[in-house]
Amino acid sequence: MKRIYMDNQSNTKPDERVFESMKPFFIEYYGNPQSIYSFGSFSKDALETARRRVADLINADAEEIIFTSCGTESNNLAVKGIAGALKAGGRHIIISSIEHFSVLNSVKKLEKEGFEVSFIPVDGNGNVDESELKKALRKDTILVSVQYANPEIGTIQDIKKLVSAVKESSNAGKFVAFHTDAVSACGTIPVDVKDLGVDALTFSASVMYGPKGAAALYLKKGVRISPQLDGGIQENYRRSGTENIPTIVGFGKACEIAKDEIVKNGKAVQKLRDKLIAELPKRIEHIYLNGARENRLPGNVNFSIEFVEGEALFLLLDAKGIMVSSGSACASKNLKLSHILDAIGIDVAVGQGSILFTLSKFNTEEEINYVLEEFPNIVKRLRDMSPLYSYFLKTGSRKAAGPGTDFDDHHDDHCNIEE
């Protein structure tokens, strides 16, 4: 059976050159980079080469890179570590309403520890409004965290403008740290930390053709952070634990490749994306693009397909060998509509039919054509059995709660899932 992988926001296929670069560091050069004998120095050299390559991708200095195990860890370190280091200057944090769970749940934990958090809204395209950010700033604000690009709806923020807004608005002499979660952006679109002016930036190998198990936090020189793991001297005391050399080496290689190929790959992937975005609405009625049309990640296609449900869509796509994702409540483990779709204000019933294709450099036009051929049949099949669609065909209107529907009676045990 065909295997068409279009769920690259969750994880990319590693590049073979990345895999090759990692191989010697499993059973050949397995020394601990902190060991002083020469065998350890092989690993140490590999670690520092990787650090330089990772730094180069985002125009940082090597000593500004802290290696971690995943994007979630980098976000935890950034949010909790910076808040912990700066709390003498205040206890107020601002994040956007479309952050990844690792940022969202980090600030929720900090709230329990006495920090206050403001969540700034986004517009219908998922853009953070600069004026909302300025409004949220307070005298005791110490940290702002806004995602660079959203993996689900593809919207790319104007981080440079948001950083300027924060730096200009903060009180004279008062430092407000700006962190951005750039997991979906790095390796996909060019990112330059010096141009952006951010103080901290998260990125990960696993979504840029590198291995799982390696990620980084860029931390600008001079910005303080309190470590979240207590231990030894690794990563200059900022992240203890024996370095995962094979994956770090792979991360370095992935960054080196990305630096060379990012523009070329971006253009090719964007061409495929634009074909899907243009052609699907010609083949399927009542579908709506979620997220920004411009300033969108080159591989991101997110549509809401009315009258059908997202999990059913992706199960039938899976049966055709096409692997995608959905933001519907039923498709999530917690049975809630994605908070991203909620934040951009889409109709909840329509959002249940969201389907997310995220493309990579390994996807081909032939695969796009296959999706264009198969997907409309799948939608038709589900619509043919959808009471919402037959109601629409008969009446021309959308069904909210029709005769016989005991929405009130059943709401609690049916739809209002307890946390």
Binding site: F307, V308, E309, G310, E311, A312, L315, L316, A319, S328, A329, C330, A331, K333, N334, L335, L337, V348, A349, Q352, D384, M385, S386, P387, L388, Y389, S390, R398, K399, A400, A401, G402, P403, G404, T405, D406, F407, H410, H411, D413, H414, C415, I417
Partner: protein
């Protein structure tokens, strides 16, 4: 292990008794589009038995499989037997459902009961 059992996937991919009955004796509907699933059941009754049953369902894999299984279990049964059918019976017949789907998508028996109640209410008049 796959998220759904083989039997769930079979009923989801090849649902039995999909459709509407134009001159149905009873119609029952549960769910809401906002929750992500909604089921409508149509029944024909003859000699106190379910002579024909059709459904239309908007929802996830589990919701569609549940509807299909309920329709299969109902066919030929007496109205009393149908009223005794529970959502748990349906889940069991499907070889189980993922725990997070037990409550949200497993409403087929409720929809069928509503269709029978709808039929009964017409008989009284």
């Amino acid at each position: 292990m796959a998220f759904y059992s083989e039997r769930v996937m079979d009923h989801f991919a090849n649902p039995r008794n999909v459709g509407e009955i134009k001159d149905a004796d009873g119609i029952g509907e549960v769910g809401n589009p906002v929750c992500g699933d909604m089921m409508t059941f149509y029944i024909k009754v003859k000699d106190n038995k379910i002579e024909d049953v059709k459904f239309k369902t908007f929802g996830c894999g589990a919701a569609i499989a549940v509807s299909s299984m309920v329709s299969e279990m109902a066919l030929g049964k007496t109205l009393e037997e149908v009223m005794n059918l529970t959502n748990a019976d349906v889940a069991k017949a499907l070889g189980g459902l993922p725990s997070n789907k037990m409550h949200c998508s497993n409403l087929g028996a409720d929809a069928l009961h509503k269709a029978v109640e709808n039929y009964n209410s017409k008989q009284v008049k």
